[in-house]
Amino acid sequence: MADPFEPKMTAFVCNWCTYAGADLTGTSRIKYQPNVRVIRLPCTGRIDFMMVMKAFSRGSDGVIISGCHPNDCHYTSGNYHARRRWMVFRDLLDFVGIDLRRVTFSWVSAAEGAKWAELVNEATSKVRELGPYKEIQQLAAVGID
């Protein structure tokens, strides 16, 4: 019998809030599902949404994006840029045909270790229910990659 489906999750997080928050999850020994691979960036403002496309086209079944809460950005306003960019990009993704349920956008501060575990668990479970992201291959055939 084949192994049950385990989703591949990619997370883009900022160094100062969410990465530190995920460190706190570790320090607090809060368990979560091991599907996620974290890409550390200085700030969510650094996220070029082509990175999200690349993550999907390289076989990610789900993507998590998380940074500092509004007003709490280490770089004053990077997270606002990320949010604004995401608002625009989300519609574009939808238009292109990407399943938006596979993208989770959140804020996790350096003090929210438990929230990081919850976020990863929820996003992973949701994507596990949705199943492998096969549709992306059809999009890739029309030149999305």
């Binding site: 460190d23 570790g26 974290v38 890409i39 960036l41 200085p42 700030c43 996220i47 993550a55 004053t76």
Partner: protein
């Protein structure tokens, strides 16, 4: 071809207990570019680091991945080690196998698989790392302290005593702040002015301190070590050099009926005034809004009578620009406007006052000479009710946080009242008594047990007047929510501590982050309490959160040490994680097209416009250029750039996409 070494740490059982480290090492050897992979019990230990250095030399490694704990923990350690072994420190990356893997997952094959993936990501990243050199910038060894309350005074004195020049800027005509208005201080009951004024005089006399009162910071440009501060020196209408502070002008000024700010409106002052007798500097200022000359063009009584001819009606504001290396923000607090408390009759009944007014009533230098007299008719109140938490811990009407100082000053007020009015009765309505501090709880107990202050646990719902007395309606929750009604002669509200009115605007001007209540935010709530997220700007006192005097002084000294530490270095070195704009040979010069979207995205104004000229001086192209001193390396410009002409060192597009290629 890169020669990458992978070093996997067991961290005792912390990693090895959950992750099959042997399998990780074996898998790492199969990754392209990896020529060496070992595991060791503690990589951060001395033998572990020696092992790393020896391997770099023996195996001729040129890049290193340490798979251990969080880079936020030990990245500096391993970067130093690689540097000692002769490799550029920025060619070392860490895979976070502990916080992000072994501590958060069960011992199972997927966990080891994740560990291998995490190592693979960092191997791909490190292969694309470029050698970087720390950025060196010079430091202007002069500090700007903003705010002349006890926080600013302490910070300025400590920095000045450490040998660096300080510019102390205070917006009001005298330094001293709230502390100069206080009567006595808890928990020792020593007179506030007696302990403060020697410090104020020391500030005025200190050779390293330049004092600018009645001045404000207009603008702060630049970056750590190299700020440019634009300061507006408001016109006092007095030649400070000639004025000897004799006070004749104050006595002779025909305008007498202006509410005195220093006495919280409990007395009046003239239009030319020194805020209080111990003011530093002891030079008057003309209140232009109320001066007869500015209103009608006539009077000039002070000018005629001034023995040193120091009055200057035509004096204008002056703008000065100073080079500054570090800034200490010590702008203090305000108390909640009492118009919030209509249910307590504030503003309606003269005898409902706030804590600051009570301080002035109880102060020997106050309008009553320290005698407790109620404002309405000057009679001695026989019963005073103090209402704690007026606005604090009140989500609906006030602020959700605890203002911290009110429990103590209310106990002090009640105690002072009992000392001054024999046979009088003070009653305190409270929610909780929060008296955590050295000798604080003892102080509250003393107020209750020795001085006979009555403490009633409960909230007050209403204060109204009846037959010349104030009726306080409340509840005693310790008597089973029994309604209580007390007839009092005076009511004192312990109003909440809030951030200054202009705190948000100032924070935005200085690029300092602030919390939802507009208090300035520290860089780390526990480990970096006096730094802000903007390098070179430090915090002292109640501009950060409600604070009492001992805490404020301790924090001000802490901020001063940070400034002195900064100034002790010959120059600054910063991590070179900054954005760079690509440069190419002519005729392209740069793939930047000069749209300057990056400029509007940059939170630090670090993007400059650089004209590229030919030998005749004609401008061929205007491209973006990153000021390495200002850039903090957030990378917002990188993702904004249309032509990918701008990239972030250490987190380049190539690196991030290489990581994504192997997920």
């Amino acid at each position: 071809m890169a020669r990458v070494g992978v070093f996997i740490c067991h961290c005792g059982e912390n990693i090895a207990g959950t992750v099959d480290v042997g399998a990780v090492a074996k898998a790492a050897l199969d990754m392209p570019g990896v020529v060496h992979a070992v595991e060791y019990k503690y990589m951060c230990s001395d033998p572990g680091q020696t092992l790393l250095k020896d391997a770099i030399r023996d195996k001729k490694l040129d890049r290193v991945v340490v798979a251990a704990c969080s880079p936020r923990m030990h990245e500096p350690t391993f970067r130093r080690t690689t540097e000692e072994a002769g490799i550029n420190p920025f060619l070392c990356e860490m895979a976070n196998l502990r916080e992000h893997c072994s501590w958060v997952h069960e011992k199972a094959p997927p966990t080891t698989k994740k560990a291998i993936d995490l190592v693979r990501l960092q191997v791909e990243k490190v292969k694309r790392d470029r050698p970087l050199n720390p950025i060196r910038v010079p430091i202007t060894k002069k500090a700007l302290v903003l705010g002349g309350g006890i926080a600013g005074i302490q910070a300025a004195l400590d920095i000045a005593n450490a040998g660096s020049p300080v510019l102390l800027v205070e917006k009001s005509p005298s330094i001293g702040g709230h502390m100069s208005q206080l009567s006595e201080t808890f928990p020792t009951l020593d007179c506030s002015q007696c302990i403060l004024t020697p410090r104020m005089v020391e500030v005025a006399r200190h050779p390293n301190i330049t004092l600018y009162t009645y001045s404000e910071l207009e603008k702060l440009d630049g970056f750590i070590g190299n700020f440019k501060a634009t300061i507006r020196r408001k016109a006092r209408k007095i030649d400070e050099k000639l004025c000897n502070g004799c006070g004749v002008c104050q006595q002779k000024c025909p305008v007498k009926k202006i509410p005195d700010e220093f006495n919280e409106g409990l007395s009046n002052r003239p239009a030319i005034f020194v805020p209080f007798p111990q003011a530093v500097p002891n030079k008057p200022v003309i209140d232009v809004a109320n001066c007869t000359y500015y209103k009608t063009g006539k009077c000039r009584a002070c000018e005629k009578l001034c023995p040193t001819k120091a009055i200057r009606f035509d004096q204008e504001d002056q703008i000065e620009v100073h080079d500054i290396g570090a800034v200490v923000l010590a702008t203090g607090f305000r108390t909640m406007p009492t118009s919030n408390f209509s249910e307590y009759g504030y503003g309606k009944y003269k005898d409902v006052i706030d804590g600051m007014k009570f301080e002035r009533l109880a102060s020997a230098s106050g309008p009553t000479g320290g005698a407790i007299k109620r404002p309405s008719d000057g009679k001695e109140p026989r019963h005073v009710v103090f209402i704690a938490c007026a606005g604090s811990r009140d989500r609906l009407k006030g602020v959700p946080y605890c203002s911290k100082i009110c429990c103590m000053y209310t106990a002090k007020h009640a105690m002072l009242y009992q000392h001054k009015v024999h046979g009088g009765q003070a009653t305190v309505f409270y929610m909780d008594v929060r008296a955590a501090g050295k000798n604080y709880d003892e102080f509250v107990r003393r107020a209750i047990e020795e001085d006979g202050v009555k403490y009633v646990r409960g909230r007050v719902s209403r204060v109204y007047e009846d037959d010349g007395q104030l009726v306080v309606k409340g509840v005693d929750t310790l008597l089973g929510a029994e309604p209580v009604e007390i007839r009092a002669d005076m009511v004192v509200l312990a109003t909440a501590v809030q951030a200054q009115h202009d705190a948000e605007e100032l924070a935005q001007r200085l690029h300092v982050s602030y919390d939802p209540y507009k208090f300035f935010a520290e860089a780390h709530p526990k480990l970096r309490p006096v730094e802000t997220n903007t390098a070179g700007i430090f915090l002292a006192g109640a501009c950060q959160a409600p604070r009492d005097i001992p805490e404020t002084v301790a924090q001000a000294s802490g901020a001063a040490v940070k400034v002195a530490g900064l100034f002790s270095q010959p120059e600054l070195t910063r991590e070179p994680i900054i954005a760079v704009v690509d440069r190419q040979p002519p005729p392209v010069f740069s793939s930047c097209v000069g749209c300057f979207l990056c400029k509007s995205a940059c939170p630090y104004q670090a993007i400059e416009e650089e004209p590229i000229k030919n030998r005749n001086g004609d401008v061929l192209k205007v491209v973006a250029k990153v000021n390495p001193g200002l850039c903090q390396g957030c990378g917002t410009c990188v993702s904004t750039c249309r032509t990918k002409a701008i990239d972030l060192q250490g987190f380049s597009n190539e690196q991030v996409f290489a990581e994504l290629m192997c997920i």
